[in-house]
Symmetry: D2
Subunit: 313 residues, 4 copies
């Protein structure tokens, strides 16, 4: 953080060093095991990709292997919904940090069915409801949106994960029905959950993730193509939300030690946005007690600290 | 946010314009009235001060009139405690956003007496306990610390406010005794609360506040004097905490619309840190439903947006 | 309560007096309006039936008109499930008063999907799950059970209410899915809810209700027929549960002022058990703020106090 | 429960048999150890006393040894306060079962400082506040009241326990200050707590307890002396409250298996009221996970079931 210049000379060698280091580190937790399809993932995978705004790509390890993006899909869903609704959306989901485990039903009850932010499950289910209402085929629209952002037409949902999520989705069903009882879900709950579980089951690689979210680091314009994905204000807002609420109940600690907008998923991925610099994506399946991939957290922490990338200084 | 350069030509005229605008705006709420000493404050006061790292001072309105800093004192208390304890401190208070009203006792019960962060009342009471344990005369140490930071030896506590806080401090007493029952308060509760209410009752002006917290915008070094107040890492950490938790249950929205580390107080003040640029302090007594001063929020929002100061782009 | 003998001479005239009084009383609340089928009920209905163990029947007002029994069905469901499972049942639902609004999801979350008792919605849904698992056709088994107890083969479910409940049952669906996520629902949730809403929609008159629950006042033996419905211990247990938890969040007050095991429903009915004496059933649709029918509460209160029927003296 | 007559021939031999049995039973838990004075009590004590309305006294074991009555004092405090205030009291404390651990602060916060009933700590603190406000010397008034009821002028508070309670009373202080912040405590908190801890530290034997509460079994008239202690309605109300809320979070289960109004204390005592029959008091220090003395629960359960004393049949 000590005034290091943001144009490192040898970013690629740092990326390789961090992957090597991560491989030597203890796994630091268990792979997500609430569904078989995730439980079977090899815990040894380690990938890291950094894509700078000028197009430079730095990768190491398993950066090209697709994995289940899980909650990272919430960022894409939110970006889609903000394009369709903008400010009305914020009457149905707040923008405040949740301060609790990522799927707590208690807070939802207290706050009359209005989730605290779009990155907890309840909030992402409201966003899914928005997408289901606004698109005739929300699932294919979601995949096309992600493919377009990542410039990769091969991206697809993992149907085994999708089915498996549905079978083990009772708590999310409880959240959805509770919100519906408060009038905050418009479509039928099974259809909304179907979309939600579908988007969680999309598989992407570190490179896909880093490329797809470049617009968040570039005031709304996709760096590779020059296409405006959203206005600068929306990019700013998504980054702000990621900064306070993207890392489950470890969001504050992540701001404290890293200081970057970021979103993790129980598939082991994390994507971090460095405004005006680029995007970092890391992958390692074993999760810590907060549900965040510990070795991926460590790689991003090191990368950000060595290059002085925190937004808070 | 759209790539505006961070060296505005006419910062002083903007500061004046914003105060003028605020004076024309509806009060937007009620002055804090839980104690008489605060309830009697003239709701029409409006002050704004910006101090840049190069020493430039821009002020308008009532920027030199001292007011009760209230919860802004939590920033000073934390900075003092971090110097004395650093990492051990974080076993007694977490660094996660609270996601609830600023004085909720419920969360404290659930989380076994460990407050979520140092900017909710419970967390600031733990910090007060640290100060009481580490200083033989914690109250005068606090005032001297603040005077030194603000280069203003006239700063003092308002004894009428202090007494009044103690008389109306039953909820804070409940928080303190609950934490003591969990073993998270070392000293006697009345002594800890005495310190806590004392620091809340210190009176400072916008200029005092902007000057005193310059080190947070400057990686730990006080801009005016060149003195190192804390290491860069500590300044970063305080900024990160302010970003996720400094504005009560409006912290997420403030990040969303403003994007700056900031702390508010029910005396009507807000101080916002702009890393590598300077500090903004605003004052207007009437509070919105979150307990934040609405016109002060508006002045800081306008200032940050016009100059493109958000840390998230 | 003052030692009045339990064999009143003119019980019939008291029953008539109380109905007359109730008709003169202000309605004291609103008819349940969460579903149209209930909202349309005439709020002026008033019925009262007392059936003593010796077979004497005392009725007044609309005591023969069937109405939606709603939560009173929980007593029948529990009696059926206790016959099938007995003590294993109490590992899936507790027997403690709930201390909160009758459908609070918060407590269920805290207590890991184990409802506090069978008379809150969550508990009755667990009981419904037991019935669905143990009967090949649980809905018709339920109706037959109730017909048999009431010696009235005309009793049936109101299909319009049943459908309507299903359409407005999102909160109950949330409870059911939350319990399923904790492993405390065995069958498929839609099937369990279908049974639950069905049993709520059964229509019975005050006379039906008073006759059907005679066995609870008679140590398990149905007074009219001499048939043993359950063992004395089970009758005792149901009475104990009714005493602490049968009147929603007014159960304590009802014990305080009346002192009888009782169950109310939002259809406006209440049935109260007087051990070794008989059963009282009252009906008046408008509900007080606790969801209990205010005029029915008043009739039962008067009847019990005038005849000194409380179990607590 | 099966229709056994309530005039057993050999009550005394049953009392002795039960104590003997209890002595052979495993301790079933730990002695209360939150204060040294209680932790040192010999866990092997077992006492049982039954006093019938006709004056017959049946005792066995350590029925004459005084022990710390702890929460049983809440019954005496309530009886005193009801004499002084009656119905106004119920605006400051409710009469509903609490449905949670006996000292939960969460519910108090939700319900704006109004405790659910007088037998949870918060409720008993409100009752203590009433006594402190109404008596110039509430502590000595309390002791005199209890001595009078028990016809034993030797009853006194154990000062070592009293001091010890005060030192470990932080959670109760939290409850009291929280209620004061809601305006539900009139006197100064330290004075109220002083009274509360004092009454908890009073020491009585099983015989004292059984004799002192005879009026609850006898519609308000003390059996031994014929003195009216309270009206029949008040006796009824206290019994009703004991039935739903006297045994901490095991109250429902106790109603389920025993069916008698009763109050337990962490000193190991339980007193159970049998309306129109008499009072049972049992003592054995080791506590189960609900904070109730397991062997005392068992003795009362056996006694009530063998003699068919439940009020619910």
């Amino acid at each position: 953080m000590e005034g290091t210049p943001k144009q490192p000379k040898n970013c690629s060698s740092l990326v390789e060093e961090l992957v090597e280091q991560a491989r030597k580190t203890a796994l630091g937790g268990q792979v997500a095991d609430y569904i078989p399809a995730l439980a079977e993932v090899n815990p040894d995978y380690v990938g890291l990709a950094v894509i700078e705004l000028d197009g430079s790509v730095h990768t190491a390890g398993d950066a090209d292997i697709p994995f289940s993006i899980q909650s990272i899909s919430k960022v894409f869903g939110l970006a889609m919904a903000m394009q369709r609704m903008d400010d009305i959306l914020w009457e149905r989901v707040r923008m405040e940090p949740s301060g609790q485990a990522f799927n707590s039903i208690v807070q939802l009850e207290w706050e009359h069915g209005i989730p605290r932010n779009p990155f907890i499950n309840a909030g992402a289910i409201v966003v899914s409801d928005v997408l289901v209402s606004h698109y005739s085929a929300s699932k294919s629209a979601f995949v096309q949106y992600v493919r377009h952002l990542a410039s990769n037409s091969a991206i697809h949902a993992d149907h085994r994960v999708w089915e498996s999520e549905k079978e083990h989705g009772n708590r999310n069903a409880a959240l959805a029905y509770l919100m519906k009882s408060f009038g905050n879900i418009e479509s039928e709950v099974p259809e909304v959950l179907d979309h939600y579980f579908f988007q969680c089951s999309v598989a992407m690689s570190c490179v896909d993730l880093a490329r797809s979210l470049g617009f968040l680091a570039n005031r709304g314009v996709q760096p590779g193509t020059g296409e405006r994905i959203c206005d600068a204000r929306s990019a700013h807002r998504i980054n702000a939300l990621l900064s306070t609420s993207g890392m489950y109940d470890q969001s504050g600690e992540f701001a404290f030690t890293v200081g970057l907008p970021a979103k993790s998923g129980v598939g082991g991925g994390i994507v971090a946005v460095v405004p005006d610099y680029g995007v970092i994506a890391a992958w390692s399946p074993p999760l810590n007690r907060f549900g965040n991939p510990s070795r991926a957290v460590e790689m991003i922490t090191q990368f950000a600290q060595r290059l002085g990338l925190s937004v808070y200084t």
